[in-house]
């Protein structure tokens, strides 16, 4: 209960002009990046990561929260108006949003998307605020062997969630783990895989990994693909949106029903807590569940606002869910929470069970910003600049990617004022580009890199405590729980061969 009061008292921080500016600016930047096909809020956050050095941790985390929320709802703008989802999480929104646009109800579809995002974001944030302290308390019960099994569970789930490309995901995770082993060993004073380079003694820094993986790789992908968006830009020019059409009528909201919104929020939230699942999986599951339980399933895909409500409620509820494992166990649920984890690490804060207990004051403002973004910024942004957002598609790509490349390369210099980090970012960018190009999910590489050091440390500590007896992972109740959970996921995701779902990230 104390934590809930702390979060609500943190709303006062939003009255500070600096915090307020960064939260609003973060939301606008996140929306712009999510709205432009090819760019994502993850990229926006990766580019802004170096700037967190000059901000207080609270401000940086609040800005991250608003970018995250914006990233989940911003993609619906182009998904609805020109049938090109700005972000993967808005894929399902396009199914009903674009037919509504074709029927002349585009603004109404945007209104439904904003309302769904608002409800989803708010429910996800409230569930996070209410449940995270309990999960944090439970996480304190997990001891060394349990921690290893938990991290192994997270990594295995991320790999097997990539249906149809599990070997690729496994190899990407191994590459991440390899990168994590570079530098000084955590338990003994021995350097590994530095090949004589003293700059590698401290290991590979998180900053160039994130900037390379998300920013430089994106520029290379765009340079390689040269997507022609002239048709999309022309279509965007023809779209006319009026503010008064945004408001969904009460009859529509009644027809969608509270149950649909709430069920989609719960699906999104719990999907978010799973490592590697993300917004696209959340919206897909909520959409299919809504179609399955609908009395008129034949109307979906033809402009049913219920489909938009389900998809957008779920993908915004993912934001709250994905932060649970990140804050309580230090396990990021998706690329954005991985970058948030980076913000914490850069500022010398170790995420994990103790974080909520010892440094709740740092976390509470972020959750307040998440709720504020959902309840205030989503509707306000749509109302104020909604009619003009569609013009974003027409932005000059040559200038855009030149700016992204400049910010990425200079941003990687900021951490240590060394060109070595810039070369590292370039190297990581090339690696991530080729991984993506060959169908390897980069999220598994990133999670391997992030979880690798703890995975190794807890493995070695567990076996040292049990005198080298590997059965310790099956005899300790906390560890056995996660081993069992891993087997359950392996059964449902690999052995049982479930229905095909969209690939993640």
């Amino acid at each position: 209960m104390d934590f809930i009061f702390l979060v609500f008292s943190s709303f006062s921080l939003l009255a500070d002009p600096v915090n307020f500016t960064y939260v609003v600016l973060g939301f606008v930047i996140g929306t712009i990046f999510a709205a432009i096909p090819g760019l994502t809020a993850t990229l926006a956050m990766a580019l802004l990561l170096p700037l967190t050095y000059s901000l207080s941790v609270e401000t940086a985390l609040m800005a991250c929260a608003s970018i995250y929320m914006a990233g989940m709802c911003g993609g619906s703008i182009t998904a609805i108006t020109i049938n090109i989802p700005g972000a993967p999480s808005s894929m399902m929104t396009a199914l009903d949003g674009y037919p509504m646009q074709q029927q002349g109800k585009g603004a109404l579809a945007l209104g439904h998307a904003a309302l769904g995002s608002m409800i989803g974001g708010a429910v996800g944030a409230v569930l996070l605020i209410a449940l995270a302290p309990f999960v944090a308390q439970l996480s304190l019960l997990v001891k060394t062997t349990g921690k290893f099994s938990l991290l192994a569970f997270a990594l295995i789930v991320v790999v097997i969630a990539q249906r149809g490309r599990i070997p690729q995901a496994g190899l990407a995770a191994c590459i991440g783990l390899m990168l994590a082993t570079v530098g000084l060993d955590a338990m003994e004073p021995i350097t590994r895989f530095t090949y004589g380079y003293s700059s590698l003694t401290a290991g590979i820094d998180l900053m160039p990994v994130i900037i390379g993986t998300f920013a430089i790789a994106e520029v290379l992908t765009q340079a390689s693909a040269r997507t022609d968006i002239s048709a999309a830009a022309a279509a965007a020019d023809n779209v006319k949106i009026r503010r008064r059409d945004f408001l969904p009528p009460l009859s529509d909201i009644r027809k969608i029903g509270f149950g649909c919104y709430f069920k989609s929020c719960l699906i999104g939230y719990f999907v978010g807590t799973l490592p590697g699942a993300g917004g696209s999986m959340g919206s897909f599951l909520a959409y299919t569940e809504t179609v399955r339980t609908s009395d008129e399933p034949e109307t979906f895909g033809k402009g049913n606002p219920k489909g938009i409500a389900a998809s957008e409620s779920a993908n915004n509820a993912v934001c709250g869910g994905a932060m649970v494992p990140m804050l309580t166990f230090g396990i990021p649920g998706d690329p954005i929470t991985a970058i948030m984890l980076g913000v914490l690490v850069i500022n010398g804060i170790q995420p994990g069970p103790q974080l909520m207990a010892d440094q709740a004051g740092l976390i509470a403002p972020m959750l307040a910003a998440l709720l504020f973004s959902a309840l205030v910024l989503i509707p306000l942004t749509l109302w104020l600049i909604g009619p003009y957002f569609i013009r974003i598609v027409s932005v000059r790509k040559d200038v855009l990617y030149a700016v992204i490349a400049l910010l990425a390369v200079v941003g990687s210099y900021v951490a240590t004022y060394s060109t070595f980090q810039m070369f590292m970012a370039l190297g990581m960018g090339v690696l991530a580009f080729y991984l993506r190009r060959n169908g390897f999910p980069v999220i598994t590489m990133l999670l391997g890199y992030i979880l690798g050091p703890n995975l190794e440390e807890f493995l070695r500590r567990s076996l040292a405590l049990s005198n080298g007896d590997p059965t310790t992972f099956f005899t300790n109740p906390d560890s056995l729980f996660f081993v069992g959970l891993t087997l359950v996921f392996v059964y449902f995701l690999v052995i049982r061969k479930p229905a095909k779902t969209p690939a993640v990230v």
């Binding site: 170096p50 700037l51 050095y53 000059s54 070997p167 690729q168 496994g170 190899l171 191994c174 590459i175 783990l177 390899m178 082993t181 060993d185 338990m187 003994e188 021995i190 590994r192 895989f193 430089i216 520029v219 290379l220 765009q222 340079a223 390689s224 693909a225 040269r226 000059r396 790509k397 040559d398 200038v399 990617y401 030149a402 700016v403 490349a405 400049l406 910010l407 390369v409 200079v410 210099y413 900021v414 004022y417 060109t419 810039m422 070369f423 370039l426 960018g429 090339v430 580009f433 080729y434 190009r437 060959n438 995975l455 190794e456 493995l459 070695r460 076996l463 040292a464 005198n467 080298g468």
Partner: protein, 149 residues
């Protein structure tokens, strides 16, 4: 063509994984006096990487060879972007932020567009570099290398 490129990528990854495993083995015995040494985990990871690589190579070789459309135009723009970033980093400190960044941004704008309206693009590059400088140095307190120290 795509398949060939993929196999080449897998062979390169396999070679790196083997090199990683060899280095891991050179760290010493994975288990000493009943406890795991710093070599244990990398050996495990290197072994797993080789296993996954082998599976993917076998899968790729078994798959029917795919042939892309005959008129497929291969773009090498990404290679030029890598080259541009590499030389930008090399020139960043010796030339200073303004000159190196100006040339870099101008080069990237050209790579992402056509060789026309060069003056306009040069002006846009200068504006971008100036705005980024103000953002980094003035707003966020980051000291960037300049010719005047």
């Amino acid at each position: 063509m795509l398949l060939n490129r993929q196999i080449i990528f897998l062979y390169v990854t396999l070679a790196v994984s083997v090199g990683y495993l060899v280095t891991a083995l050179s760290l010493g015995s994975p288990i000493a006096e009943g406890t795991l040494t710093p070599a244990f985990f990398p050996i495990l990871v290197g072994g797993a990487a080789i296993l996954f690589c082998s599976i993917l190579i076998v899968q790729a070789l078994r798959a029917a060879p795919e042939t892309g459309p005959a008129d497929e135009v291969r773009s090498y723009a990404h290679v030029w972007v890598v080259v541009a970033i590499f030389f930008y980093i090399l020139a960043f400190k010796p030339l200073g932020y303004f000159l190196s960044s100006g040339l870099f941004v101008f080069a990237l704008i050209l790579l992402f567009s056509k060789f026309e309206k060069m003056v306009l693009k040069a002006i846009i590059s200068a504006v971008i570099v100036g705005v980024a400088f103000v953002m980094f140095q003035q707003l966020f307190g980051v000291r960037l290398p300049t010719q005047w120290g």
